[in-house]
Subunit: 463 residues, 2 copies
Amino acid sequence: MSLDTVLMRCDGALDDALDRLFTLLEIPSISTDPAYKADCDRAADYLVSDLASIGFEATKRPTPGHPMVVAHGGTDAGDDLPHLLFYGHYDVQPVDPLELWNSDPFAPALEETEAGRVIRARGASDDKGQLMTFVEAMRAWVEVHGALPCRITIFLEGEEESGSPSLVPFLRDNAEELKADIAMICDTGLHDGKVPAIVTQLRGLLAEEITLHAASRDLHSGFYGGLAQNPIHLLTRILADLRDESGAITLPGFYDDVPDISDDLRAQWQALNFDHTRMLDDVGLSVPAGELDRTPLERVWARPTCEVNGIWGGYIGDGFKTVLPAEASAKISFRLVGQQDPEKIHAAFVDFVNARLPADVSCDFGDGHGAPASVMSTENPAFDTARGALSEEWGVEAAFVGAGGSIPVAGHFKTILGMDAMLIGFAKEDDAIHSPNEKYDVKSFHKGIRSWARILAALSNQG
Amino acid sequence: MSLDTVLMRCDGALDDALDRLFTLLEIPSISTDPAYKADCDRAADYLVSDLASIGFEATKRPTPGHPMVVAHGGTDAGDDLPHLLFYGHYDVQPVDPLELWNSDPFAPALEETEAGRVIRARGASDDKGQLMTFVEAMRAWVEVHGALPCRITIFLEGEEESGSPSLVPFLRDNAEELKADIAMICDTGLHDGKVPAIVTQLRGLLAEEITLHAASRDLHSGFYGGLAQNPIHLLTRILADLRDESGAITLPGFYDDVPDISDDLRAQWQALNFDHTRMLDDVGLSVPAGELDRTPLERVWARPTCEVNGIWGGYIGDGFKTVLPAEASAKISFRLVGQQDPEKIHAAFVDFVNARLPADVSCDFGDGHGAPASVMSTENPAFDTARGALSEEWGVEAAFVGAGGSIPVAGHFKTILGMDAMLIGFAKEDDAIHSPNEKYDVKSFHKGIRSWARILAALSNQG
């Protein structure tokens, strides 16, 4: 009875919830670019104020980078009820190439599309729209019941899109305050665009940046071409060498700690009828790339990758400049699975590059920050409880799935706070996160809010 | 007697000549960047006015791109005297990376260095400083004698650094006006920084720009990594494939029209005692790259090359963005020798790239503009006459040399105007042309002016 009232409140307040989300989306909180530092701060302030308005004791917490938001509520709830920690991130990806956006990325708007109404803006899906689903669910609960159903801590980060440099120190320094019974992370998606899903295994990530240096200055390719090292050419050779013809990654030892998935899990995944053709077709592709001897779902959920995410060197303006540049650079990321150790892979990568440097060429390496893969302990009964609540809301059995993306915070909650994490989100593959024209379905937002209301009720036995 | 007076005039007017050069260097005539179109026009206007001031009938001639400057002088000289055409270019290379310049590239200044006084500015050496050597020699001659020693046409281009798109049509349309007995091109250097040289063979150039297209938008490497084509990775593979381990270029048929140099020429070149160690050491390198089975001088003067001059794709800003980009691009240039045909090499390059494109990836190609190599007919007695004049000025026997750079205009003068060209210049390898902190030695400028005065005298029998 009480849940029904909360769900009705979620429905009735949808327009207001969209207004609040739009206010947050208007703030260009691009964490990776120092030019937007004040905007990140402003986004944190807005969230502190919004959480305070529904009764949370909310604070902005400084870090050497962008601030964290920590909020506590329901602290007078019974000790027999669970203490939940909710995580999301208020920072967003850069918007380039800006010219491919059909509208201002920070002027959110509702759009009617063939597939229904969508919210169009950078961060609409990743992760502002998603984090506001649980905030709005709590608001509805508080408005109907006057209090939260159980003790809740909200923890919002502002550096997720820039490698989370402050996350581990902050978790360590505030472990007692942040520790709860279980974490709920809202930064993932529906399976196949329609099946609610709890992610139980996530790939890790190792990010590398390298710059090759050759001559002490840019050279004229007429005078020096054929005689001086060209760092671009060398960079292309090193990067090309990282994968063989079959798509396998050639770093020595790279696959040592990569487990094969169990027959059981393979059967579960096959039952999901993953439609890779549609996923590729959505973005103008038709043929799966990558490791030819693995199923498409396995490539994305259970296999490690190596991708060049950016490359630059020499003259890249209009026209032509026959230069042999002094340097050339690339950003490379590895998705990690199983027990692959980011530090070990980083060392192997450094050795791989150094072994290919001829005389006169040196390489600068970044610090190679990374996080290992995560596999959740689904024996915790909260997983089945949440699964049931999701199934009721969406009218279809919720799935335990893998995910190709990396959400290192899940691993850190486990190792630093000793807490399992449940990853539940409502994004769709066609949300264009990290790309121009990012969107979030209004349906995802609305049913996302309702889903959290149901999960809150189920976990606190108030359904 | 009369030559001595002209040479004294060259010495006495040096400071004024530097002032005039500085006025030209202050104009940022970067031809490849449309933002500097008005500046290119202004540079042409300045030269028209300067040439008119020493009696030339000078005009700015429009083209679809930047204007040409054409000036006629000595038109009443006897028909038994030679008609000379002088060529230079008033446009300059872009200045990026600007942060590596120690001063404003368009605020020319004299600097005392350990190796003597230098003129520091973009274009100081390539080619404004060089073209003003012949202009100043003519000014001195006119001031001393009241007239030029023979009929002279001056032809200055403003698109040399951006592929000379208007050159061939302009030469065709104005062939009668521009045809002379021999062309003098001032855009090359001293051999080994001290020996005056006439270039008798020049490499050609083919410039290519490619963009690989994969997905219809940038993708999140977590969702799509391992499943979608990464155009950067493919680009690195294609570019790496262009050269084998020995440095040889792998385009099918690439070496078909590359002649070996004659034993005679090889002996001449060996006598030059080319110091590749110093040339490399000047730019922080120590070991010659490129084709291991060729001498360094042969690699630079007589062998074709393939160099990546620019590459870009994905996220190249600060921080990290785990993106699989929709596209990746590169600028590639080939230096051509012997009978290599730019159109044939362009076609081979297109085939080479297309053969390496998997499903879902397409490639845009530029028009692949280029020019073949040039080999001069040194039997023309003007070559030996000029060589003698240069030897007198510099006190060392002038050399017939090759050059690694491409000066396509020499080939066009031959094929369109039926005229041999003599390439004489006073640049040095350490001039940093096309690079930050370009300079031109005051000695090059001063003795360059005197060299042209001597050549004018010798060719018109007025020594």
